[in-house]
Symmetry: C2
Subunit: 188 residues, 2 copies
């Protein structure tokens, strides 16, 4: 039985086992959060999981960072807390490229079953990292490895290449409607 | 700093602390998964969390069930594995109503900081549980309690009442495109 009990999927027939390339994109909440949910599930099944956070400040102590630390799940942020207000992007770019080199080695190492590249769409969207280079690495990934890429503005080529793409669409947001900012535990 | 580093939110100004009513709906993946991500984050912050799964088979051993058990997080499924093929829905309805009574008591107990009502939209959508009754309970919830409701077909009244609503929209699905079914660890 699948997670989506109400989904119109036939239950019979062989289950193809394959590591999927997944993309969580769109302007709504839940892109990183759903990736964390996979981490939680996969950890529950004793799978080897690793999360690389792009852009987020090196040394961030989000709820997920704390949880990962407690569980011994690898989760590393490498960034300078880039936002749309960042003026000098040289360091931001360098950090993103350095993180990608580390992530690439992890992908090709065949030591993991789930790897999350969090907010990785931005370095591609801004042209700091070539989408074609990324796809080339994804092509070479171990057969059973699941890779989840999150962030807005997923490049078309990546969507074309991916197996599973979901758009998180904002219907209602507490900041815009009520001036309520992100809540600890819930959103970070 | 919020999770969404690229989001156009001012960083200054008071942070209003409020438990939010969140709805993850739509036909795409990631509704339950994002709720699990919140569970992971909140657990990382030592918050008291609890998940009630509706419809899913009592005694299910999903990845998330295993993870929750290992961590001592309360997660209970009460259902008979309802799908669109289910013929006799009497038992399904009774189990959903029984689970709602338990969840309601938990909501009003003021013992939790995050409560997830997974796939709870279906009992409302099918009319087994009254949306108005649910909203009445949500109105009485402790001020700081976050509640996350997942599932397709979220009723309009619920969307109207909720603070944060996200639609998970399917862009590309491995089953429809490649005949690949849900993968353990990734999707359940």
């Amino acid at each position: 039985m699948t997670q989506e009990t109400t989904e119109h999927q036939p239950v019979k027939g062989p289950r193809i086992k394959k590591g999927l390339v997944c993309v969580n994109t769109g302007n709504g909440k839940g892109k990183t959060t759903a990736a964390l949910g996979v981490l939680f599930r996969a950890w529950g099944r004793d799978m080897k999981v690793q999360m690389f956070q792009f852009l987020k400040h090196t040394g961030s102590q989000f709820g997920e960072t704390r949880a990962a630390k407690k569980l011994g799940i690898g989760m590393t942020a490498m960034g300078d807390g880039f936002t749309w207000r960042t003026k000098n992007m040289d360091e931001t770019q360098d950090l993103a490229r350095a993180q990608w080199e580390i992530a690439k080695a992890a992908i090709l190492s065949d030591e993991y079953e789930v790897i999350i590249l969090d907010e990785f769409t931005y370095p591609m969207h801004y042209g700091w990292i070539s989408v074609n280079d990324v796809i080339e690495v994804l092509r070479q990934k171990p057969h059973m490895l699941h890779i989840i890429i999150t962030g807005r503005h997923a490049p078309d080529e990546l969507i074309e290449f991916a197996d599973l793409v979901t758009e998180m669409r904002e219907i209602k947001h507490p900041y815009r409607e009520q001036g309520i900012k992100a809540q600890p535990g819930l959103e970070f």
